[in-house]
Amino acid sequence: MRRPLVLAAIVCGVLSARAVAQDAGVLRFGGDAEGGAPFMEADPRDPSRVVGFEVDVAALLAAGLGRTPRFVQVGFVTLDPAVERGDFDIGLSGLEDLPGRRARLAVTVPYYEFREVLTVRQSDAARLTSLETLRGRRVATLGATLAADILERARQDHGVVPVIYEDDVHPYTDLAIGRVDAVLLDAVLAERGVSRNPGLLNQPSNLGVGHYVGTLAPANTALRDRIDDLLRAAMKDGRLEAIFRKWRMWNGDQPRLYARVLAAESGPDASGSRDPDPRTGLDQTAAPGGREPALAATMRYLPALLRAAVITLLLSCVSMALAVATGIAIATGRVYGGRTLAAGLTAWVELVRGTPLLLQLFVLYFGLESFVQLPAVAAAVLGLGLNYGAYESEIYRGALQAVAPGQLEAARTLGFSDWQALRLVRGPQALKLALAPMTNDFVALLKDSSLVSMITVVELTKQTSILAANIGSWFLPGLLCAAMYLAMSLPLARLARRLERRLGPGAPA
């Protein structure tokens, strides 16, 4: 009896300590400063501070709550899970009002309305005017946004090819250099994209309407309601308008939004019902319909997940083939080559092993774009293949050196050249030694292939995260995704064991 009581006391203590920490005069607002102006960015005059309209909104809310605002830097794609687990009090980072987000988090009233805008190259302005005109063409957007949902529907309805980015800068630079044919994103980002990339223009048609909201942990509804009151007050007295005017974002859509939000407050649902639409009074014409059960949504996404699994498998197989080829070349060069060649190859291996794969992918895809514009899949295969090639080369080098010298001497006394001895004697014996670590690497590559989503390739993990964002839960999608990875990796391990058996136990120790 005693132990549960002690445990309960400890848990209560921890929980109350956490509550105190959350309420100690500070409003922690989470955002991604990589998003840049006008949302938030490091202050050019003092990079330790952030500036942007979201920072001003946070200051406004903190003042209303009698707290001090404190910025918490979080990657854009992890803002939702981070607020859910209590890393900060409110997420303010151009977060769109999406059904999945509403299902999962406590969401504030919207404080800014935006339109979805199609951006194209000026030379295409006359012919690429709408989603219908983009059949078979690549259209870029940011993952887990309203625009991504619109594009997904356009893929089904008009045969548009969505290209999902992890950031909102590269869609526009890639449009400028011709990697994609259009970008669909909200007007704030589109204006910024066009101003930074000469040669682009925004089409006038409005492809959807969305709203920015603040996000809080689902249990944090009391704070959310206070913040809603503060936002409504700021809508009434012009303080929000002042912020958006300061950042040159004010337009005619905002007064209409505020009127609808304020009207909803005085309506019958102002009592605190959490049903989103009556509360905000919004006409979400472009947003997907109401919340769908997780299982149904998962089943609807299943074909897309399977397609993504095939992409993961193909990508991994081709990358591994490249890794094996470069690994063999490097290992052979290091074992048989002269001192200069061996030193050069050693430096290459250390360079590749000593830097993150993600960085290598970025350099290949974005860094080299002024010299060579690699298609995303090619950059992915090259990045994964070359990176794993460096690791493979070390395995092969070790295996080659582990073949008994007597085997090579025997080959020599029979008149085999070095190349024949490598091909007929040393290589096959080294292969057996290398097989188990090679399989390990293939399984690791299969999983690391998820990194290529950062350069717009939608593979299994990315597709899963899109599904999870859509239904507001990682549970089912995560299980399904894990099952698919296992279904791919387990047969590999089995195949390797069979091959090892087939090559027999007679290889040298």
């Binding site: 008994a404 085997q407 025997a410 008149g415 050249s417 070095d418």
Partner: protein
């Protein structure tokens, strides 16, 4: 004319002289035994002749092919050398990933360009002649010491070298197998092949050697017919 002539051979290993000015000749169809205690330099002589070891001075000649000090032979020179000499190692060094027959036909196919079927037929015949025909499909790790030794001899013979080097051919064999091997080797010699064997084994030398060179610290200290020197060379080894 000699099948093998070695003149004033010097071999160093790790800065230490292991063969010091050694000269000898082997006649065609002769089995010449190099005897001596461990470290006397007999294996180093064989390795130098087989092109596995560099030598610092001297010359090695065999049927129109001669080598001086310097780098190990490569390319065409290596093929020239091994058209004339084959070697059987003390621990056989059979290719671990291949069957016995495959070990035997690999070099004829890839070095001499013999057709695969013909080479395989010859390999099986050779294995049969050496008494291990039934083990043609076994992997090296499945063979006994005696069987592995015979497969290794077959592998060297498949390249039809006029000179065969045997390094401690009986080291891994029991008494009965040693006698069998001695008969096999004698048969090869009577067929006209020249054999140079480094060995401790007095019985083997008595059974099949023609002449013995007794080595000590890298020099020949005695030379004579097998009957008189087998005991001296075998001393302390068995």
């Amino acid at each position: 004319m000699s099948a093998l002539t070695v003149r004033d051979l010097h071999v160093e290993r790790g800065g230490r002289a292991v063969v010091r000015g050694l000269s000898f000749a082997a006649r065609p169809g002769e089995l010449l035994a190099l005897m001596g205690a461990s470290g006397s330099g007999k294996t180093s002589v064989l390795r130098a002749v087989a092109g596995l070891e560099r030598f610092t001075a001297g010359a090695i000649e065999m049927s129109g092919f001669s080598r001086g000090p310097g780098a190990l032979p490569r390319g065409a020179a290596l093929r020239e050398l091994h058209a004339r000499v084959g070697m059987v190692f003390q621990f056989h060094n059979l290719f671990a990933h291949l069957s016995a027959a495959h070990n035997v036909w690999l070099a004829p196919v890839h070095v001499r360009g013999t057709g695969r079927e013909e080479a395989e037929r010859s390999a099986r015949r050779l294995l049969h002649e050496l008494g291990v025909g039934a083990r043609a499909d076994a992997r090296p790790h499945e063979l006994s010491g005696g069987e592995a030794q015979r497969v290794a001899i077959a592998r060297a013979l498949a390249m039809e070298p006029p000179l065969l080097l045997l390094d401690e051919p009986t080291a891994s064999l029991d008494r009965e197998r040693r006698a069998e091997l001695a008969r096999t080797v004698r048969g090869l010699v009577s067929g006209g092949r020249t054999i140079v064997a480094a060995t401790h084994d007095g019985d083997f030398v008595r059974a099949c050697a023609d002449r013995v060179l007794l080595l000590e610290e890298g020099r020949i200290v005695r030379e004579g017919p097998a009957g008189t020197l087998a005991e001296a060379g075998g001393q302390g080894s068995e």
